[in-house]
């Protein structure tokens, strides 16, 4: 795997939200939503990002499209998000808004809630042509053609362009969202649980559409989900997140069939799978609640619920180590066991 193929390299990314309180609005606490994660996405690749609710998946996605600073002026971002656009490398964690604007067309996002992600006061044509207005020099008729073409690509009728979002079903709205993300030919699309708000019957349709589009246009996906079975189907590699950290990262089948980190094991044991190759393991039920990112345990975030936890786990945050080829796990205990 040469570096040339790499589209984005995330290194030690931290996203902290300070909380203010009191009369003078003094800083009272810090939400460590993302606390030092590293991974990379190659061209034409799909990375699956899984984890429980509140572990920081959306925050990672928003960091990658660089919208956190505008959404939350107080946010603290550390680390680097280095994109490689046609040989030019830019760090989205550091770029000024003005410079960022040039690259915004390259990274787009599809959102979880198709009812909130489309402006209810704009027609579909207005919604899809907005990125075109910002990033291309198309005239009106070219833009119309492009909108019609995009709608066709995502399986909608071009005649529906002059309707408002509320006249569409959830699945259709999500297709509009996909068309908007696709409009500027991005290199990477962040998909933040794009199907979790949809009916099960429609989920497969939308996922297949996204896979077809990737085949045709060759962009990369960061596919966020909390359902591992969905991700296994679409992703080339999977990153498992727990409380702001990536605990396991590797080829999709490796992580899926041979999880090493105790958290991944627990997560996977909850997925019902008709799989003859895999011996029946008893379901691992985790004890206790997920700690909040406001008040993380010291050292390994998972140690309060981990069946393998030892004293040493409280000392340092474990880093990802390569346990097997291209299979990264953040747990020294597991490594010791496998070695010994």
């Amino acid at each position: 795997m040469s570096d040339k193929q790499k589209l984005v390299d995330v290194k030690n990314l931290k996203v902290h939200f300070p909380l203010f309180g009191g009369v003078l609005s003094r800083r009272v606490a810090t939400v460590k939503a993302v606390d030092g994660i590293s991974f990379s996405i190659k061209r034409k690749e799909t990375i699956g990002l899984v984890g429980e609710s509140g572990c920081g998946k959306t925050t990672v996605g928003r960091a990658l499209v660089a919208i956190l600073r505008q959404l939350y002026p107080d946010v603290e971002i550390d680390g680097s998000i280095t994109y490689n656009f046609n040989g030019k490398s830019v760090d989205f964690a550091r770029l000024k808004p003005r410079e960022l604007r040039k690259y915004r067309s390259k990274v787009q996002m599809i959102f979880q809630d198709p009812f909130a992600s489309l402006n209810p006061r704009m027609t579909v044509a207005q919604i899809i042509s907005e990125p075109l207005q910002l990033h291309t020099k198309m005239n009106d008729s070219e833009m119309k053609d492009r909108v019609g073409w995009l709608l066709d690509k995502v399986g909608l009728q071009p005649e529906q362009a002059y309707r408002y979002p509320h006249e569409f079903s959830g699945g259709q709205r999500q297709r509009v969202g996909i068309a908007r993300a696709l409009a500027t030919n991005p290199d990477l699309i962040i998909c933040d649980e794009p199907v979790s708000a949809l009916d099960v019957s429609i989920q497969a349709q939308v996922i297949n559409l996204m896979m077809d589009l990737q085949e045709e246009f060759g962009m990369s996906y960061l596919f966020i989900a909390h359902d591992l079975s969905v991700v296994e189907h679409i992703a080339d590699r999977i990153a498992v997140m727990y409380l702001g950290n990536v605990v396991e990262f590797g080829e999709s089948s490796t992580v899926y069939y041979d999880p090493r980190h105790p958290y991944s094991k627990a997560l996977l044991s909850a997925v019902p799978r008709p799989d003859p190759h895999r011996q029946r393991e008893s379901r691992i039920v985790l004890e206790g609640d997920v700690p909040t990112p406001l008040n993380k345990p010291s050292g390994c975030g998972f140690r309060t619920r981990c069946p393998l936890a030892e004293k040493s786990c409280a000392e340092e945050i474990p880093v990802l180590e390569e346990h097997a080829l291209e299979h990264w796990v953040a747990c020294p205990i597991v490594k010791e066991k496998n070695a010994g």
Binding site: Y72, V107, M109, A116, D152
Partner: protein, 359 residues
């Protein structure tokens, strides 16, 4: 590229089916008859009131005098001597009309209701405290001015004042509230503290002080009232923008590199119109009330201006002349009632329970 389907063909037909939410609300508003009719009546009356100088005026529309044609309504002041009239100052066109009846070739066309709002006792032919009758429909006041005429001119002034005041304070209040909710952080914090301090300024004292230094006129009054009136809207707008900003369509707009200005005005504002529109009629009522109050207390528009507050005030000093009290109070009551009906209907049309999915 293959032959891709074009958007235009079906567009025209689709556009009619696809009504924006605002259009749907307008239709709903229309279906609420009381509010809709009140709206029609008020708007019609307001539009007509701009043509009052042609309908209710002591200046003639046209005068023909010795072969020459004059348009006093448009030309303004014309001395009486011009028409061979023996009066000091401006011509008295009502008397001129009577006089010209006997003169060949000379004639005067008066407006349908030939009494102006500014005439007073110094003009010959005016009587003080005349009871309502065929000449003066609502009688005359303590200076011999026609009450009906002043009432209608006062309608235009009151409503124009209130609407301009509302628009001005909304422009400021909406912009500042929107920025507070949208940018949040330090800007929000500092502006909030400023507003808290500003809101404690005693409006009436400031008003008394200002009007003792300068004689307030129409626009100065609007400016002063606006300085105190913009605050209310910021609360609603701040909350609206705060809520809307968390929605993903804003995140999407930011992710494609849209500017803050466009996001505020093109994306979020159209979704935050509900408080603006639903409070507009009530803000207009507040504006009328403020002007009436200030005029009543004598800090408002300068005296010859036909204003309802001043009319009520003078009327109360002459309680026995019942028409001088009842007329302005009745006009005020009717106008406010019409606006309340409108406001009520707007509120119902915008009730989120009906279109909760569309908001």
């Amino acid at each position: 590229m293959e032959n891709t389907p074009t958007v235009d063909q079906a567009a025209a037909a689709q556009e009619q089916i696809s009504l924006s939410v605002l259009k749907k609300r307008w239709l709903k508003f229309k279906s609420i008859k009381r509010g809709y009719y009140a709206f029609i009546i008020l708007i019609t009356a307001y539009i007509i009131s701009f043509f009052l100088p042609l309908l209710i005026n002591n200046r003639a529309l046209v005068v023909k005098y010795e072969g020459e044609i004059w348009f006093p309504v448009f030309q303004g002041y014309i001395a009486g001597s011009t028409f061979g009239e023996d009066v000091p100052g401006e011509a008295n066109y009502r008397e001129l009309k009577v006089k010209f009846k006997s003169e060949k070739g000379n004639w005067v066309i008066m407006p349908p209701y030939p009494y102006g709002p500014y005439e007073d006792v110094t003009t010959a032919g005016n009587k003080m405290y005349e009871e309502p009758g065929r000449g003066h429909w609502f009688g005359t006041d303590n200076t011999g001015r026609d009450v009906f005429s002043r009432l209608l001119y006062g309608f235009n002034i009151s409503l124009s004042f209130a609407i301009l005041f509302t628009i001005a304070s909304y422009l400021i209040g909406v912009s500042i509230g929107a920025m507070m909710g949208y940018f949040g952080g330090k800007f929000d914090l500092i502006t909030q503290r400023f507003i808290e301090i500003w809101a404690t300024l005693p409006f009436l004292f400031v008003m008394i002080i200002i009007s003792s230094i300068v004689r307030p006129n129409f626009f100065l009054l609007i400016v002063i009232l606006t300085l105190f009136g913009w605050i209310g809207m910021t609360y609603y707008m701040r909350a609206e923008f705060y809520r809307e900003k968390t929605k993903d369509y804003v995140a999407a707009a930011i992710s494609m590199g849209q500017t803050h200005k466009k996001i505020i005005f093109k994306h979020i504002l159209p979704n935050s119109l509900v408080p603006i529109i639903t409070y507009f009629p009530f803000a207009v009522i507040g504006g009328i009330g403020s002007l009436v109050g200030l005029d009543f207390l004598g800090f408002g528009l300068p005296p010859p201006t036909p204003s309802w507050g001043q009319m009520v005030s003078v009327g109360l000093q002459n309680m026995v002349k019942w028409w001088m009290v009842l007329a302005p109070l009745g006009a005020l009551f009717t106008t406010l009632l019409l606006i309340v009906f409108i406001g009520e209907a707007i509120r119902e049309a915008f009730d989120p329970r009906v279109y909760s999915r569309l908001r």
